[in-house]
């Protein structure tokens, strides 16, 4: 046994390496495999062709989320190709014995919302999903990352993955966030500082007092967007906040106190060394708005759209100019002067109950601007019911928002929820790539409170000066 101090990543990694065959990549055991309709069909088909079974169906959980309509669920799915993909997931889960949270199941929702919500996600676990936002689950002190469909098939067949150990990057955030500044603003700010590839090859561990102060759902928002800085995963060491969140959840361990005693061993040892460390100040962060076509192209609400021709890096200069052209923006425009056509509150980044409460608090007593079409898409059936019990749906509906069923919806627009060409949207999702929300659509990423304020005023508005009613 080595007595070298270890990080959270080291501990989870060491605990899951089954073996490292000579000259090969380590075989890493996977505790939880989450599955959705878009990246699994070909993997199940591969199993079928090879005559293989799912090794551990009880560690595999599936739900349709990407492709599904968010309107009336009693109606049949209009798009035959979407329907076929969802039917395929159903048939595969039935054939291979995988638990499916299907449409109509009270616990259906976005895979990265229901995993933590049901207590399927737990500290110290390895968790994968054919989806890059799997890093969300790292907020509970798990090593969670996205994989491709061939790897999905590998996990289904072997409950393991071939993986080289990633490097570790500590992102320490000192101090605290100012009032009106949220976890979403923090992570957008961090991505802006790191760049979209600053985390490549690394697992980020978020540390420091500013991170410790975040609630569980805020931590999920931060870890969720680690991939947008290129990181393999993001994680936060488990603490009392984590344990309090998990206690009593459906899939949480029955002998919870014993589990907590195990989990308390996972946080990194004092003196553990990271491959890289970056330090930021929470107090430096203001509400953020993206101006371009990747999440690192971001500025504060009090800033102006930058002039990319002044960027030093030739790649960034080129990419910034293309982005402004696509976004229909000119350098020097004040962010608060940018008008909006659409507002989307939802996605695995920001569709949990606290996100909806934050947005509803802004909206209460106001009306959506006549020029704006706004919608709220809760992350899961449970979030939706909770919000309705609290009367948040009424607040949104009274203000003129649409109130939808749970799903990924306009985060990626695989279902009918899309932007029209040229439409400009304030979105609480995670990607502002060209065409992400619909061909020709223009996406600005913001926090739920900022999205709600923009819906009311019709343009970006500094939430720090909002008059709450």
């Amino acid at each position: 046994m080595s007595s070298t101090p270890r990080t959270l990543l080291d501990k989870i990694w060491d605990a899951h390496v089954v073996c490292t065959p000579s000259g090969e990549l380590p075989i890493l055991y996977i505790d939880r495999h989450l599955v959705h309709e878009v990246t699994s069909a070909q993997a199940f088909e591969g199993l079928r062709l090879a005559g293989r079974r799912v090794r551990r169906p009880e560690k595999t959980f599936a739900t349709p989320d990407h492709n599904i309509p968010t309107t009336d669920r009693r109606l049949p799915i209009a798009d035959p190709i979407s329907k076929q993909q969802i039917d395929t997931l159903r048939n595969n889960c039935r054939e291979f014995g995988v638990r499916l949270f299907d449409l109509g199941d009270a616990d259906q929702g976005i895979v990265h919302v229901i995993g933590p919500e049901l207590g399927i996600t737990q500290p110290g676990m390895t968790i994968v999903c054919g989806d890059s936002h799997t890093a969300t689950h790292g907020a509970m002190g798990a090593l969670a990352f996205g994989i491709g469909t061939s790897e999905v098939e590998h996990v289904l067949a072997t409950q393991t993955l071939r993986q080289a150990k990633p490097k570790s990057l500590e992102l320490r955030v000192e101090g605290e966030l100012h009032a009106g500044v949220t976890a979403k603003d923090l992570v957008l700010y961090l991505i802006g500082r790191l760049s979209t590839e600053g985390g490549t090859g690394h697992v980020i561990e978020y540390t420091g007092p500013c991170i410790r102060r975040l609630g569980m759902e805020e931590r999920m928002t931060v870890c969720n967007m680690s991939i947008e800085a290129g990181a393999r995963a993001g994680m936060i060491a488990p603490d009392q906040v984590t344990f309090d969140y998990l206690r009593g959840r459906d899939y949480a361990p029955r002998d919870f106190d014993r589990a907590v005693a195990e989990w308390e061993r996972f946080p990194g040892d004092p003196g553990a060394v990271f491959d890289r460390v970056e330090i930021f100040q929470g107090g430096d962060v203001v509400p953020q708005v993206t101006w371009g076509t990747n999440p690192a192209q971001v500025v504060g609400i009090d800033a102006t759209v930058p002039d990319p021709t002044a960027f030093r890096d030739p790649n960034e200069r080129d990419s910034g100019s293309r982005a402004l052209d696509y976004m229909g923006l000119a350098g020097g425009t004040k962010i608060v002067d940018i008008p909006l056509d659409r507002v989307f509150i939802g996605s695995c980044t920001n569709s949990r109950i606290e996100d909806l409460r934050a947005a509803a608090n802004v909206v209460r007593g106001y009306r959506v601007a006549p020029t704006v079409h706004a919608m709220v898409v809760p992350g899961s059936g449970r979030v939706k019911r909770q919000a309705e019990q609290e009367g948040l749906d009424r607040v949104f509906r009274d203000a003129g928002f649409e109130w939808r069923e749970a799903g990924c919806s306009m985060c990626l627009g695989m279902n009918p929820d899309t932007l029209e060409p040229g439409q400009r949207c304030a979105s609480t999702s995670n990607r502002n790539f060209e065409g992400r929300q619909g061909k020709g659509g223009r996406t600005h990423l913001v926090s739920p409170a900022m999205a709600a304020a923009a819906a009311v005023t019709g343009h970006f508005t500094d939430i720090r000066h909002w008059l709450y009613r």
Binding site: L25, Q42, G130, D255, E316, E434
Partner: protein, 204 residues
């Protein structure tokens, strides 16, 4: 999987950084449940105009790169979504090799699973390849590169030669066309032993 040993082909330069997998294969094509047939949708929003005709401005549509099998790209190629449909589309279109200064992690792994070789070269070497491609194309000739995986070297016929590194396990899988899952299942006893050591008592 088809083995990959060496390859010579026409280079198609794509001179933009941070090309995300949403651009490589837009979401409307992710509803298919097959692994094949994605090439027709590659770079769909860039390759085609609104009326469905080829966009003559897009680099890959130039006649000089017709039949290209080596994609030359800029930093952070393949960032964003984990969709393996991106390498499926590139491979189905005819690409065997992608060369860039850096790649996003998930995309990089996904390439190997599909017999396609992603090669990281230093930024100045990639700059040089863009220059050479431009020069050749200016005289109406396509630019060709040869990739030798056993020797881990990229060469052209005008003196360019750079070695690259590739993980030894990934290299062996490509050279021999090995099935990852089959290899891992050779260690099924160790997997079972790990599970036995970590079994949680029923009801816990």
């Amino acid at each position: 999987m088809q083995p990959f040993v060496s390859h010579t082909g026409i280079v198609s330069p794509l001179d933009r950084a941070n090309v995300d997998t949403d651009q490589i294969i837009p979401k409307q094509f992710l509803k298919r449940i097959e692994r094949t047939g994605f090439g027709q949708f590659l770079f769909f929003d860039w390759r085609f105009l609104a009326d469905g005709t080829l966009n003559p401005e897009f680099e890959l549509n130039r006649p000089v790169v017709n039949g290209a099998s080596v994609l030359l790209a800029r930093r952070n190629f393949g960032c964003g979504s984990s969709r393996e449909h991106a390498p499926w589309a590139l491979a189905d279109y005819g690409f065997k090799v992608v060369i860039a200064p850096t790649f996003a992690d998930i995309f990089f792994n996904n390439c190997f699973q599909n017999g396609m070789l992603p090669i990281r070269l230093a930024e100045e070497d990639v700059d040089e390849l863009f220059r050479r491609a431009r020069t050749a194309e200016a005289s109406g000739q396509p630019y060709r590169l040869r990739v030798d995986l056993p020797a881990c070297v990229v060469t052209d016929d005008a003196g360019f030669s750079r070695s690259f590194s590739v993980d030894p396990f990934r290299k062996r899988c490509l050279l021999e066309g090995l099935d990852d899952i089959g290899l891992s299942l050779q260690h099924v006893d160790k997997i079972a032993a790990w599970e036995a050591d970590h079994a949680v008592p029923a009801g816990a």
